[in-house]
């Protein structure tokens, strides 16, 4: 077994050496370097395309998915070897994908054979980019209150309604979407459908955030007709799938938006001043130290949960806990960076501020969404209290 793994490591190392292009072994310089794939994706760097094509062909964008659906078919141990070899050469992720992080795992669990064969390989190769149609104007934290109507028209479903906070819907090719198929009940009247965004009647409108960026959209469905086979799972059985997918989403959200190129300590040293090896502002120093400890504690906890999962423990219920802790951590980090950088972090655009300064400002503003997107901190604390601690609303 160990010998097999060592052989796999040697093979992997040789393959990566030959196939990972030089520019894909340099650190990403910002969110712009993230490759999301899809029908209309424009690669800024031809080597990024090459890297995605090669990794996708091997199934290594989704290493542990079955090879029958385009995945790498690797065991958990082999995947660890692959990840450590990728890390060793500083390889960039070939693909950022809601398809891989969220949709794929639930398709593997709930979809029929045809659906898996149709959608999973395209996700692996980065050919189709997915977006998530969950929240609605009237259904945010109370997601199960969603009203987007899906009617059975005999040979097709007819969808009417509006979604909001659909991440990158304006760039997405397909949408996995929660719809109401029974208005007489709440949770039991929801179904999970897949919608091609080029279908007649689908319209998207980007939403501008306080950071100036527009990662989210409003998405409108007006008499959108989709084939019957685009429903996943059973009719009115969508809530279970929705919750499972949220768990994957919460596990994967890790503080979008912060300017990770700059360390808060370096920033403080530069702008606050150092005397005798320590930051002059002792109060800020103590708070940065406390933050650094929480950061370490968080990283160690993720490592511990991974180890416990490997040993067969069920750690899925911890997703909400990590979501809360991760969001808080990233927001604290951004606040400390802005405080440390002083007025250098109060710029918006133009020559008067460096690109890093502006990234710090905008990253801080973007981080305010961390405790809202993917389930608010309050909703996730509810989940921890109820499912982990067993505190029920009424007894």
């Amino acid at each position: 077994m160990t010998n097999d793994l060592e052989a796999f490591r040697a093979e992997t190392r040789a393959w990566l050496e030959e196939n990972c292009p030089p520019s894909m072994r340099t650190p990403m310089t910002g969110e712009d370097d993230a490759v999301w794939g899809g029908r209309n994706y424009e690669f800024k760097n031809p080597e990024a395309k090459l890297w995605l094509d090669r990794m996708g062909a091997k199934g290594w964008t989704a290493p542990t998915w079955p090879a029958a659906y385009g995945g790498g078919g690797l065991s958990a141990d082999e995947n660890r070897v692959l990840q450590s070899e990728l890390k060793k050469i500083g390889a960039r992720p070939p693909l950022f994908s809601f398809g891989i992080w969220m949709l794929g795992p639930v398709l593997l669990e709930y979809a029929n054979e045809e659906q898996k064969k149709e959608h999973l390989p395209k996700i692996v190769r980065g050919e189709i980019r997915w977006c998530q149609g969950y929240s609605e104007p009237g259904a945010g934290s109370d997601l199960a209150g969603l009203q987007t109507k899906c009617e059975d028209k005999g040979d097709h479903w007819l969808i009417n309604g509006q979604k909001v906070w659909t991440s990158y819907a304006n760039y997405a090719d397909w949408c996995f979407c929660l719809v109401r198929t029974d208005t007489s009940v709440k949770h039991e009247g929801i179904s999970f459908v897949l919608i091609d965004m080029t279908t007649q009647g689908v319209e998207t409108r980007p939403i501008k955030l306080i950071s100036g960026s527009s990662p989210f959209c409003e998405t409108f469905f007006t008499d959108v007709a989709i084939p019957k086979h685009q429903m996943v799972g059973r009719l009115n059985g969508g809530w279970e799938i929705a919750k499972r997918l949220l768990m994957y989403e919460r596990t994967n959200i890790s503080g979008f938006g912060s300017n990770t190129r700059v360390d808060v300590v370096d920033l403080a040293k530069k702008h606050v001043g150092v005397e005798g090896g320590t930051l002059e502002d002792r109060d800020l120093r103590a708070r940065i130290a406390a933050h650094k400890m929480t950061e370490r504690a968080y990283a160690l906890s993720v490592q511990r949960a991974t180890e416990e999962a490997r040993a067969g423990g069920n750690v899925s219920h911890m997703a909400s806990m990590f979501k809360v802790a991760g969001a808080t951590l990233n927001q604290d980090r951004c606040e400390l960076m802005v405080e440390a950088a002083g007025n250098r972090a109060l710029g918006w655009s133009g020559e008067g501020f460096s690109a890093d300064d502006i990234a710090t400002t905008r990253g801080w503003l973007r981080s305010k969404g961390n405790s809202i997107e993917g389930g608010t901190t309050e909703i996730n604390l509810n989940v921890v209290a109820k499912r982990v601690l067993g505190l029920r609303d009424t007894q």
Binding site: G277, A289, A297, S301, R304, E308, L381, N382, L389, T394
Partner: protein, 358 residues
């Protein structure tokens, strides 16, 4: 690095857990206190040592189990759960660590077997003022004799052997040495401690300097943090159970979101701290080169967590939480004593920042 216990460690933890739950539940501490024992319970210590728990980190050649700090941490965590009043952390952890790191061969031969068997209770005397300040010792050593003073030495009133840290040297002092004056302290946590004066007290020099003192302290901090995680966990679990049973307004109070969120936040904090302590114990056993960072991380986080957990235990129990008849007060008092010992959150945040270079 690993966070999971192996079979030996797991077995030891179970043994400790069963024993403490049955023979040293919180009622035993309460009884000791009510009988004004101030931490003296030699029968209990004999039984603890009889199970091999006083020699967990001591190598087999010196009569111990040689199981390491992860194993001892597991035992200490269990002892923290029921607030076991025994010199486990001062003797089996701090005292044994000091001899292992700074003892001459002869000193190890003489003392380690006795510490492992529980026959001798050792302690580590470090602080000289109201706060932890290991580098600021005014202790003097001339012609084999010590002059100076130590304050609030944990289990100092029952120790047979005192390992005394100067600014950059370590000394062994026997409790019955001439010129040693001990004043027993009656402490809020009912465990007792002692102030000590050395007035030309005969002492034996040990190996090592300031770095060795730090290394000993770091092991003591990490082990104590394990005890603190145990206390915080138990305080949290008792409180969580109370939320599920106490009824007001026609429902259990655990149904109120304000309380659910406080419980969920405390749980999250506790889990993050537990990871730090487990990693720190493992770092000692691996003899990692960043034990100091781990020690300050573990001790600062454990201090904050047990502080919060003990305060929440009082508040969320409402009226009963502020009465002496409830255990919340005992967890609260012990929490503050462990927070202060070997440096609290503020001390270790400062040290962590220095270690990280700012």
């Amino acid at each position: 690095m690993t966070f999971t216990l192996n079979d030996d460690q797991r077995m030891l933890k179970d043994t400790a857990r069963d024993f403490f739950r049955e023979q040293a539940p919180v009622t035993r501490l309460r009884k000791q206190r009510d009988e004004k024992k101030n931490g003296r319970d030699p029968d209990l210590w004999r039984e603890i040592a009889g199970l091999g728990l006083a020699g967990v980190i001591i190598p087999e050649e010196f009569g111990g189990a040689g199981l390491g700090y992860v194993a001892l941490g597991a035992v200490l965590e269990e002892s923290g759960r029921t607030l076991v009043a025994s010199p486990l952390h001062s003797s089996a952890l701090a005292g044994a660590s000091a001899l292992l790191l700074a003892g001459t061969d002869a000193q190890k031969q003489e003392w380690l077997p006795k510490i492992a068997s529980g026959e001798v209770v050792a302690t580590f005397a470090i602080d000289e003022g109201a706060h932890h300040a290991p580098g600021k010792s005014k202790l003097k050593f001339e012609g084999g004799k010590l002059t100076g003073a130590k304050q609030y030495v944990a289990d100092g009133h029952i120790a047979d052997l005192i390992i005394v840290a100067g600014a950059d040297a370590l000394y062994l002092v026997k409790a019955d040495a001439a010129g040693l004056k001990r004043r027993e302290l009656v402490t809020a946590d009912s465990r007792g401690a002692a102030d000590m004066k050395f007035e030309g007290t005969p002492a034996e020099k040990m190996n090592g300097g300031a770095d060795t003192i730090d290394a000993i302290l770091d092991r003591a901090r990490i082990g104590l943090a394990a005890e603190m995680v145990g206390s915080a966990s138990e305080a949290f679990e008792i409180t969580s159970e109370y939320l599920k049973t106490r009824r007001q307004f026609g429902q259990v109070i655990g149904g109120f979101q304000a309380l659910q969120h406080r419980a969920a936040k405390l749980f999250t904090d506790l889990e993050l701290t537990r990871s730090c302590v487990l990693a720190a114990l493992d770092a000692v056993d691996r003899n990692a080169n960043d034990i100091a960072e781990y020690a300050s991380l573990a001790k600062a986080r454990a201090s904050e967590t047990v502080h919060l957990a003990s305060n929440e235990m009082v508040q969320l129990h409402g009226g009963i939480g502020m009465t002496d008849v409830h255990d919340a007060g005992l967890y609260l008092k012990r929490a503050r004593a462990t927070e202060a010992l070997y440096g609290g959150a503020s001390f270790h945040r400062d040290r962590y920042a220095s270690l990280l270079g700012f």
